[in-house]
């Protein structure tokens, strides 16, 4: 056996080439690539991300104005050659504002979903792994928070964090969003814990934390990713809802929700103020949901036994 130490990595051409395996992740990726709707959704999402993050910068560099630049003399114009989406009441370019708003919405959605997934995974994994009384207590806490009207909770959190800045917004959304992830992960861990490979790890003396990290979480990652991809659009929607209540991003910063809120107020007069942000939001949510559905199909455990 010690002779193997000098062998080093097997060299090609010596008959010792290693046969590469195809992991379940690679399998899932291959399936996702075959899913046309998901790929269109992903391409669209990437395009939107690109536009939202680079668009406002380009506009400022080329035309010298930003989402907050007002031109009161040029207020509330319908779409035209100069301003494709028209301008709002204060003469701000609506296209720039939609792109910037998309940027805010995407950021809030991603960060809030990340917070939710991280907190939820750790909480659920610990709860499910420890089991027994600890699990019982941890899950009752989740139940209690879940029973509270969550908007109320977000509003309180935002009030505690003072002012409605972006950080407090996504922390607030994330703090509520983790509940479902925690439940999903806990359920997965509970059933995985009884699987023979986890028992096998235990029988070999693998420690608790290592078991969680090496055996339990990788096998829960599928549902976590699926839930994450579906959480992003729902977080965007909730941010829009908060903006609707005036609790979201504060002016002059726009988010898609805030823009729709503004547009809805002037809907009868300045239609473009509602139509463009609303369309942008719809396209974004559609794309994200297609990606989410595709990821779910690709990772579907029922497909695993196939072939």
């Amino acid at each position: 056996m010690t002779a193997g130490e000098q062998d080093g990595p097997p060299v090609a051409g010596q008959g010792a080439e290693l046969v590469r395996g195809v992991s379940l992740w690679q399998d899932a990726w291959a399936r996702l690539k075959r899913n046309r709707m998901a790929m269109i959704g992903a391409a669209n999402t990437l395009l939107l991300v690109f536009l939202c993050f680079l668009g406002p910068i380009a506009v400022r560099a080329v035309w010298g104005y930003g989402y907050e630049t007002q031109d009161l003399a040029y207020g509330a114009r319908p779409p035209n050659a100069e301003h494709w989406f028209g301008t709002d009441f204060f003469g701000r370019d609506l296209l720039t504002r939609v792109l910037y708003g998309g940027q805010i919405s995407l950021t809030v959605g991603l960060l809030a979903a990340t917070v939710a997934a991280t907190v939820g995974t750790l909480y659920g994994a610990v709860s499910g792994y420890l089991g027994g009384r600890v699990d019982n207590l941890m899950m009752r806490i989740v139940d209690v928070i879940y029973a509270l009207p969550y908007m109320f909770l977000v509003i309180i959190l935002i009030a505690i964090f003072q002012a409605t800045n972006l950080v407090s917004l996504f922390v607030g959304l994330g703090m509520v969003g983790w509940l479902m992830t925690a439940r999903i992960v806990r359920g997965q861990i509970l059933s995985l814990k009884e699987r023979e490979f986890v028992q096998a790890a235990r029988s070999m003396g693998v420690s608790g934390p290592t078991t969680i990290v090496r055996h339990l979480i990788p096998n829960t990652l599928g549902p976590i990713i699926v839930y994450f991809t579906l959480t992003v659009p729902s977080m965007i929607l909730q941010e829009a809802f908060l903006s609707f209540l005036g609790l979201g991003v504060q002016a002059p910063r726009p988010s898609l929700g805030a823009l729709i809120n503004d547009g809805a107020q002037h809907m009868t007069v300045f239609w473009w103020e509602l139509v463009f942000p609303a369309t942008a939001m719809a396209v974004l949510l559609f794309s994200l949901n297609f990606v989410g559905d595709g990821v779910r199909d690709a990772l579907d455990p029922q497909m695993r036994g196939r072939g």
Binding site: G4, G132, F197, A200, R202, G205, V206, H215, N219
Partner: protein, 350 residues
């Protein structure tokens, strides 16, 4: 689990002869699981294992057979300390294991000494599909015990894993493959290689072939036999397939409802069973030979296995025993040694 009631019925232990040079000795082992009784009713226990004595001789195989629900798997896991025995003693290489548990955070854990000893006792699992983490490569799977106990890393680890793969008859080039890319038999080889990684003295094989195809079962049985001969391993071979058990075992213990009813040389148990349950069990095993099958007489068993929550008083087998007498209904027979070297728990066998 620790506050399970002491059993009121006669203990079968202490009459067992000391088997010379047993690597693993189990005495009066009991594993009782609490179950939720009816609302407001008294707390009840499933007596999964209820007073079991076993001896695994060094370098030999003890077969543990019985039908589903008889407690053989639980007995194997409790012997390995994968779950904490309720009462009883388990000695491995002369050391008592049951006292090495620690209680932490409200649950039972292995103490450091037990963790060290556990390296010398490994397990092979029944289902080669469920017992391998689907996200890990063969290298990760076989190498896990080596990494856990810091025996090897990097290139040395790869070399050790590949040597183990060759040992169990696998192509070492497949070290980076994943379990789902292998057939059931190959996966079971991975499981065996993993159990061998720490160079253990004892391996508990829990139904290692029952999930495999017929033509593959023989390959795995032969592999286990060869590994034993090469490495001097001791096996506790748990299975319901009596023919396979007799093939590999030196001695066989037959369990019924949490207890050993008969134990002895494999040949004796299979060819001249004495306990009424063993006799019925052996007679029910089909033999792949039509001429023999035509002339065999089956000893039918009536009824079902009673619940292990409230096992019948006296001999637990009396509800199904064709020869049961009054004494069997009241008095539990002890597992007593006979002149021919086997042990039987039955009032009716002289």
């Amino acid at each position: 689990m620790t506050n399970a009631p002491r059993t009121e019925r006669g203990s079968s232990a202490h009459t067992a002869p000391e088997v010379a040079d047993a690597l693993l000795s189990v005495r009066d082992l009991r594993v009782h699981f609490p179950v939720r009784g009816r609302l407001g009713g008294p707390r009840e226990f499933v007596r999964a294992v209820d007073g079991v004595d076993l001896d695994v001789p060094r370098g030999r195989t003890l077969g543990l057979v019985g039908e589903s629900g008889c407690g053989k798997t639980t007995a194997g896991r409790a012997a390995l300390q994968l779950l904490r025995p309720t009462t009883g003693s388990v000695t491995f290489d002369g050391r008592e294991l049951t006292g090495l548990w620690r209680r932490r955070f409200g649950s039972d854990r292995w103490g450091p000494e037990l963790r060290e000893l556990r390296q010398r006792m490994q397990m092979i699992f029944q289902d080669p599909y469920a017992s391998l983490n689907p996200r890990m490569t063969v290298e990760g799977l076989i190498g896990e015990p080596l990494v856990t106990f810091r025996r090897a890393q990097g290139r040395a680890l790869r070399a050790r894993v590949q040597a183990l793969m060759e040992r169990v008859g696998m192509d070492p080039r497949y070290v980076r493959r994943y379990p789902h890319e292998f057939s059931g038999g190959q996966r079971q080889r991975i499981g065996i290689a993993r159990a061998l990684a720490l160079e253990p003295d004892l391996i508990v094989c829990d139904e290692p072939i029952s999930a495999l195809d017929v033509s593959i079962q023989a390959q795995i049985l032969n592999l286990l036999g060869k590994l034993q001969a090469d490495l001097g391993l001791s096996y506790l071979f748990i299975a319901h397939d009596l023919a396979a058990v007799q093939h590999l075992s030196d001695r066989i213990a037959v369990m019924y409802l949490g207890r050993v009813v008969e134990e002895g040389q494999a040949r004796m148990i299979c060819h001249k069973p004495q306990h009424p349950y063993t006799r019925a069990l052996i007679s029910a095993v089909p033999i792949p030979d039509p001429a023999v099958e035509r002339t065999r007489r089956r000893l039918p068993l009536v009824g079902d296995v009673p619940s292990p929550i409230r096992p019948p008083p006296g001999c637990t087998f009396h509800t199904r025993c064709p020869d049961a007498q009054e004494r069997c209904r009241t008095e539990a027979p002890a597992l007593r040694a006979r002149a021919d070297g086997r042990r039987i728990a039955c009032h009716l066998v002289e």
